[in-house]
């Protein structure tokens, strides 16, 4: 049977999936590329896992060879985080409304 611990985690996962669908379905198509890039940055959260696995005293990525793997692991995640947020910021700054009086775009309703 399923452990209480796993069940609690599954609960969090399933609810987060629903929240995700709900929130993302409100993103207008014009922002779909920044959305991809923003979620791309968010999955950079594996950086937390990377630091925990490669940084603690009981890390399996020890010794010279292991450290190289650990370094590469944290590097990948770090690249994901910093690159992801920077590129999203750059993209979003380009989105501008019409010149003087910006009226609300008629989008979002689906």
């Amino acid at each position: 049977m399923i452990s209480a611990h796993l069940l609690a985690e599954l609960t969090v996962f399933i609810l987060a999936v629903f929240v995700g669908f709900e929130v993302i379905s409100k993103v207008p198509t014009t922002l779909h590329t920044p959305l991809m890039s923003a979620t791309n940055a968010i999955h950079g959260i594996v950086l937390v896992g990377a630091i925990l696995v490669a940084g603690t005293a009981d890390t399996p990525y020890a010794g010279i060879g292991g450290s190289v793997v650990g370094f590469f692991l944290v590097l990948l995640a770090s690249l994901n985080v910093f690159g992801g947020y920077t590129v999203t910021e750059r993209m979003l700054e380009m989105f501008r409304p019409k010149k003087p009086a910006p009226k609300l775009p008629a989008e979002g309703g689906r």
Partner: protein, 469 residues
């Protein structure tokens, strides 16, 4: 469940909860271009909180961690700053692959910890560690192939060979069997784990190879969703809620976009992934030059006159605009036309380009206000009123055969009703058929004129013509 756990929560877990909330808020603010920048910053603050909190958790390998963080930050920020907007799809693919690879290595490391310390591996840890390793590796390898295709370091055409599905099926079977063996604790557990991971790498490559460039919006979304799920799965391995929440959010987002893209092409996801759409069909008369067509070719000045005396012009951009980097010239043309009192709108097909929203981001780069950009459903009724539809490097998404010809491979795909406009100007490099290799009857329409050449040069010519009028 009868005992009440009264132990105090670890402050780090509270920090992780804050991060989860900030991520959700960040995505929520993406619902409008006005609040989107704030959203991205909230999300980045959330990330910072999580990382700082994690660094308090008994880290000893400071040199390795710090060096990797710094090098990753420098490469990430510099490349993200310098990349051209037209190269955005490959950039997203690259970062996506990095995340997937990291997730796989985290799962492997965690499993190694169990094995090294001789602790019994529980079923759920065994199950989820293989899951993250497999999806992460799949996403890593698939993203690399997608990157190579988008960067045109390899052909964007589908690469197919006989028995492709059988080979993929067999590899998948090996993955599933080794996965089962790891979960059942059959020795040597580690070796089975590495077999599953290695096979997933191979499968990732093989699975993206037969997918053509025009189907990249689907692939990119799907790989994004994979990396999200891999991250969530490592959350189960590590018992870490912030990974579970964030991974679930990304997985949901990627899945939603994948489904949207599939709908926009009226094709099932399986068809996109396994259909090798756009493969060069043997014997198919890939008519060169103007083979069999009766088209009217005009000069840039003719187009300039047509546009300048119109009331309403609808620009329909496609991948050709991205390739030619024509977005700035288009913006200049629109400025000139607006000076003459012409109304200019942009019609965006959901799968135009190589990733969801690709055209929007390019036009935004050229300072086209986002409220001039219209989705397919909003603009389609408008074509009847438009004097000119200006098609810049778009083909299949304007093909009336999708609406009318039951035998067309793209029949049923929702298209932009360009042919309903009073006049159609098509900017195209040559008469070669579009990505899907399908004839476009739009070009034979008596209302249609063609301006051949590189899209940017053509538009620049038209701008000069409009200025001279």
């Amino acid at each position: 469940m009868s005992t009440v756990d009264t132990a105090l929560a670890n402050p780090v877990d509270i920090a992780y909860l804050v991060t989860g909330v900030l991520f959700i808020l960040g995505l929520r603010y993406l619902s409008s271009p006005k609040t989107a920048v704030l959203g991205n910053r909230l999300s980045a603050i959330g990330m910072l909180i999580a990382v700082v909190a994690t660094l308090t958790q008994g880290i000893v390998n400071w040199i390795v961690i710090a060096a990797a963080l710094i090098v990753g930050a420098v490469i990430g920020i510099v490349s993200a700053r310098q990349v051209k907007m037209t190269a955005m799809p490959q950039m997203v693919a690259a970062f996506n692959g990095a995340g997937g690879g990291a997730a796989a290595l985290v799962a492997a490391g965690e499993l190694l910890k169990y094995v090294n310390s001789g602790t019994a591996i529980t079923y759920d840890v065994a199950f989820t560690s293989v899951l993250s390793a497999v999806i992460g590796a799949l996403s890593f390898a698939g993203s690399i192939v997608a990157f190579l295709k988008l960067q045109e370091l390899m052909t964007g055409r589908p690469i197919t060979y006989p028995g492709q599905q059988v080979v993929n099926g067999l590899i998948l079977l090996v993955i599933l069997v080794s996965w089962g063996l790891v979960v059942a604790g059959v020795q040597p557990v580690l070796e089975w784990f590495w077999i599953a991971l290695g096979c997933a790498l191979v499968l990732g490559v093989l699975f993206v190879l037969p997918i053509g460039g025009a189907d990249m919006p689907v692939v990119i979304s799907l790989l994004n969703s994979f990396t999200g799920l891999a991250a969530a799965s490592t959350g189960f391995v590590l018992g870490n809620n912030v990974l579970i929440i964030s991974g679930a959010l990304v997985g949901a987002s990627g899945t939603l976009l994948t489904v949207l893209m599939g709908k926009a092409m009226n094709r099932s996801i399986t068809n996109v992934l396994f259909g090798a759409f756009g493969a060069v069909k043997p014997g198919g008369a890939a008519a060169g030059a103007t083979g069999g067509h009766n088209v009217r070719s005009v000069s840039a000045d003719d187009v300039a006159a047509m546009l300048a005396y119109a009331n309403e012009v609808i620009v329909v951009p496609g991948y050709g605009m991205a390739v030619a980097q024509a977005q700035h010239s288009i913006r200049e043309l629109a400025d000139q036309l607006e000076k003459k009192g012409v109304e200019v709108k942009y019609a965006i097909h959901p799968v135009a380009g190589r990733m969801p929203g690709h055209m929007n981001v390019l036009l935004a780069e050229a300072n086209v206000p986002y409220d001039s950009l219209y989705d397919m459903d909003d603009i389609n009724p408008e074509f009847e009123r438009a004097d000119v539809a200006l098609v810049v490097g778009a083909n299949d998404v304007t093909n009336p055969a999708a609406r009318e010809d039951k035998n067309s491979p793209i029949y049923g795909m929702p298209i932009l009703n360009v042919d309903k406009a009073n006049n159609v100007v098509v900017l195209k490099r040559s008469m070669a058929s579009g990505f899907a290799g399908i004839d476009n009857p739009l070009y034979d329409d008596p209302k249609t004129v063609m301006l051949f050449g590189d899209a940017k040069k053509s538009i620049d010519g038209v701008v000069a013509g409009v200025k001279a009028l």
